[in-house]
Symmetry: C2
Subunit: 299 residues, 2 copies
């Protein structure tokens, strides 16, 4: 089955001590959609400006994304620029230029409204809700978020969370939202906000799923070198939802394996700037790493 | 088979914002030996002063520890005191009084010298080596350490590591020793120092084993509340070595499962001050949590 993915479609300028990488393809929807494309058909929803490079549209096409929901508007594409410190563990934002994103309203093409799987990748929760309003009884809905929305749009976010099956957030956001330092103690509080499934992402330390079948502790794929973690969380949830949508059988049965596929897809994302490494990856590369990761957790 | 465990046998005074816990039983050997005692016979090597409370000797006896190697010397037992901050994540040392530990020489009773499994729990590396010098061809040797020895006894430590099968350290110590921020990149450098197996402990994020069969990513047991993490690392390695020594078959085959048992034993340690919770635990409690943890990592 196919998956609809809405989120940001951006240009990311990423500086490191050794190199400048201007205007790479980025944004939560770009990372999530490319990640999901290894496993199933993807309907992309986003907005870009007239300056959006043709090579990036070509990249979307190479990954077989349906672009009927990608609006092209007069003005500039959303642009984020940031700088990494020497050890690549910390980055700071240099500039955020919203461009056409400022007035974005994700109105879906009619053909998208019956997509069975929906991934509301990181974007303002009001826009995530607006997409849900247009969907006709989707089979499974997941939403990701970021600290920004907890700070400036908490009410919108809480309203959204009630409507989703799976809520994905990182450990820092979980602490902020529940006032619980402890991830395990935060989980029941997150379920009380509505979602049947909760996944807390812990970066290099993997992720933890909570649902009716209890907890699942998922590893990250151990990497010798992280080049650029930008988009890793989006790739994780994109790979996860792509795998779920592309698999037969109930979600409950496939969810643990989907997290393994998400971890592996995210590992490729971390090995290059922007989408550089992910786009050079094949389904066979992913399967190879999934096998390796399954061996690394087999008791 | 039995395991010999050498390390510190101490009294720990642990202050928290809510309570003072004076002179609890502590030290690396106490935690590791009690942890190992759930799985096999333990020969304890350590030193205490004449002030060592009888109730703690009784506690050792209740856990069936062989105390022929526990020296009782004139003077005071090693005493550490520390204080935790509100969220229990940080602690600072208030005082360290070495007492009889200052002149400790771990001379083994003749009957100990043929113990097949040896755990050199955290203690000065020169003392760990001195124990090894007295052993007759042990089957499997593991050594733990702490940052202090990297700072003040690095040469001794490097000399020791060459002689052990398994070297256990935490992520911070691995970074310090290899100058690698990345755990995965640190592992080959640690193997070059000698040991066939390396385990890097990451606290609540679990641990990672590297050996001839590749990597094993082991989870920590997810806890809703951590009361006192003091001794968790010692309990982990104690439970691990106890399980290895108590199991049939080659170490290589049992090592992954041994880490699961180590994680679970350490989880009980974290749920009480000092050894309070560990000593109330039964083998059946451990087996129950092992089953739960195995379900949490099954894909």
């Amino acid at each position: 089955m196919s998956v609809l993915i809405v989120g940001s479609t951006a240009l990311d300028s990423i500086k490191t001590p050794k190199a400048a990488n201007p205007k790479l393809l980025g944004g939560s929807a770009s990372h999530a959609a490319v990640a999901a494309s290894f496993f199933t058909d993807v309907n992309l929803v986003g907005v870009v400006g007239e300056d959006f490079p043709k090579k990036y549209t070509a990249l979307y096409h190479r990954h077989g994304l349906d672009l009927a929901g990608l609006q092209v508007k007069p003005g500039k594409t959303f642009h984020w620029s940031g700088e990494y410190e020497v050890n690549m563990n910390r980055r700071r934002t240099l500039a955020t230029e919203l461009g056409v994103f400022e007035t974005f309203s994700p109105d879906l093409p009619e053909a998208y409204c019956a997509t069975p799987f929906v991934l509301l990748a990181n974007i303002a929760p009001a826009l995530q809700s607006h997409v849900l309003d247009q969907m006709r009884r989707p089979r499974f809905i997941a939403a990701d978020t970021m600290d920004l929305w907890l700070n400036i749009a908490l009410k919108d976010l809480l309203r959204l969370i009630k409507r989703v099956d799976l809520f994905v957030l990182n450990d820092t956001e979980a602490h902020q939202l529940t006032e619980e330092d402890n991830v395990v103690a935060a989980l029941p509080k997150l379920h009380k906000l509505g979602p049947k499934y909760v996944i807390i992402k812990k970066g290099e330390h993997g992720s933890i799923l909570s649902g009716p079948n209890g907890l699942f502790v998922a590893p990250a794929f151990p990497l010798k070198k992280v080049v650029d973690p930008t988009g890793a969380g989006d790739s994780f949830v994109g790979g996860l939802m792509g795998y779920l949508a592309g698999s037969k059988g109930p979600v409950e049965t496939n969810l643990r394996r989907a997290m393994i596929y998400g971890s592996v897809t995210a590992s490729f994302c971390c090995e290059g700037f922007g989408l550089n490494c992910t786009t050079r990856t094949s389904r066979a590369d992913i399967e190879k790493r999934v096998k390796q990761l399954l061996r690394m957790v087999a008791v």
